[in-house]
Amino acid sequence: MPVRNSQVIFATLFLLLVSFSVVAIESARLQIGSMYYADIDLSQLNISFSLDENGLAMQATAEKFTLVDQQLSNVALNCQQFKVAAKFWQCRQGQLKFTHAVLGQQQVTLSFAANTLTKDYQLEIAQLGLADGQLQLRVALQDQQWQSTINGQQLALSSLLTLLTKILPNRDLTMFNSWQPKGLVSGTVDLTGNGAQVLNTDIKLRSPDFSFSDDTGNRVAETLDLTLALTAQYQQDWQFQTQLALNNGQSYWAPVFLDFQQTPLQLAFRGEMQPDNAVWLLRDIKLEQQGVLLANADLQVQYKQLQQLKMTVAPSPLSAIYQWWIQPFSPGTAAANLTATGQIGGQLEWQKNQLQLQVYLQQLTIKDNDERFAIEGLDGEFAWTTTQNLMPVNLRWQNLAFGALPIGASNLQATVTDNQLTLTEALALPLLDGSLQIDDFNYRYASDGSHWQFEGLLKPVSMQALTNTLGWPQMDGKLSGMIPRVSYEDQQIDIDGALQVKVFDGTMIIKDLQLQSPFGSLPQLYGNIDMQQFDLELLTRTFDFGRISGRLDGNISGLRLSNWQPVQFDARFATAENNPGKRRISQRAVDNLSQIGGGASGLMSRSFLRFFEDFSYDKLGIRCQLNNEVCQMSGIEDDDQGYYIVKGGGLPPWVNVKGYTRRVDWPDLLARLQAVKNSDGPIIE
């Protein structure tokens, strides 16, 4: 634009002036009613020349001056140093006043020089008041070659945009307006060109408080301290070099929030723009976010779509990367609230539908702040790809923990291809004094989320160590299991097969385990448990329940734990049908049982039975159907008023324990159990 306009201005001025030969001795005056030339329309033009000791002076006024749709009125040019020769015109430090509908009343310094012979033209306008700041414009034209410099000081972007909208009503500035740019900008734009073609651009801009926001407020920057340098050259295509520094202010580009005061950012790249096929190539991109990351990248964009990206990130502190770049993408996931340290770096290659990622990990420690999992001393390389390429994964760690369960140092070897990770070697996870061996682990990522599965073999873990770790009453025995398949899909882990617990000299089989939303608000665990031939003597000793001998069978079906608390089940325990063993029950156990049954407490201590240490029984059993915080209780046999928990038999003395309350408040029952555990024994009156 400036090119054509300045050409026209010059051409017009010169034609105008040249066409009237000046023959005055001391002063001369020209008056023209109106004239048109090309895009120029002048009315009431007055030109006067005077000659004094300083030389020739020119004064020109016009009522109206229209140039390419822009109308100036009350135009007055006063040129004290005016030179004129046959083909040469010059005005230095002239004063130009005019009024413009949008720019208002202006008084600018105007200099120009024109040589129509050499086709050499120069124009300089200074002190143009614009958008609360000032603008200086210098244009030089020689034949077709031109050069222009625009220098702006403290231009208010919002006012500038309002001005542009008014000056160029036909131009669509929605794109700029929709970003609501604000702030003061100073800087220089140097342009050189040939005819209508711009050949070189050199832009240097600085703003101490650049802000913008889109309509939704999801892409926002506030008071950025911005320094931009851009140079571009045109040789068939556009070549450009850019440097951008952000040293203050904040931005939010949903969901990434950056604070440039805490982490100043520098971006530099060179590039190429091929206008014919709308391709942008950006090379040697160097992005440095101080204290966070240093990345080098190349990318290609065509038709405003990213086509290709290659990026390398130098080893960077994971704590900062997590804070600025990972956490914002993780709300509501297992990674939402972590403490992470160590160094992480890697490289990424992306082109349409093809991703290849390699990440190098150095001494990472990642801990869930809700203490659901943790990993320490994680080293190695991780990879991911959507292509058919085979990429190795090799991870080693010192410690791993799921809840309170500690897993020792292990080494994971796998390959990744086509959105899948497959173990190449069985993974042995040391668990207390046993281990969990994982075979055929396969992780797959699909559009509907993550899927994984494995075969597991749990080598015996001592219950003593396990119960200690979990803070349960100490039990002896072993936990082991063959797990044909553990699978995860849609927030649910299914465990086929069974876990076997050898405990209390009997066997407990845990099966049909299913865990829903393990990292959600309320993890749900479902399962069924069968118990056979528990030695009651060992069991009662463990739970400090008095002493009962004999063998016990039981099952808990339809078990549901919500947030690791039992909320539903149907549990039955009864003397084993086969091999019931020697059946004796101590006085204290009887009293405890009757308390739990909700009735007949103290029954025996009131009777003569209190003189006996223990009793023989035929059968004992209890059932609790928990639902909705209520335990529906029953025993081995009903009678009119209640149900038998213990039915006497064998050699006397023997005793019956009967329960009367059918519906027991579950928290109340837990409290009773706790009370029993803590009690010193029955009070014998």
Partner: protein, 199 residues
Amino acid sequence: MRLVSSFTSFTTLLFLASCVTINIYFPEAAAEKAADRIIEDVWGEDAAKTPAAPPANAPQTQLDEQYPLTMQVLNWLVTPAQAQPDININSPAINTLQAKMKARHEKLQPFYQSGAIGLTQDGLITLHDAKAVALKDRNLLNTLIAEENQDRKALYAEIARANGHPEWQADIQETFARRWISNAANGWWYQQNGSWQQK
């Protein structure tokens, strides 16, 4: 003749039996009461105490009206507790969620007040006006929204499960959605028919 009569009683029995399954409907009024109890606890003073509207008719009404006599017999046969099931919201899991949501509400409250967030039509919360939030607080708010929604979904599912009807989850969520909006304080935003409204 005897054959006919026994056939009639058999069909009546069949009919009654089939009615029993129909009779287990979603206890709308009880659900609203339960929802209000939770909402009043979570929101505290911010909950505008709006009495629950009379519940919409339960889905089985058509059959009811058609066979009022049968239903009367049925109500006599089936214990009232079954015919008018209550909604229990007293379980450790529900209490935990409720306590978490209550604690979180202190942080969410200013965002409701400023219009930054609003209530959705499906009983969740979402961002309403990002501009009302300082840039540095944007991710904190995103996290709060995600956590709150996760807890709300878990709450709806748990109430349904705890009451022995996992299939009620959608109904419970729908009831809560209405009650959150009814109980919302003045000036808070909510979605209705896909557009934002202010209380």
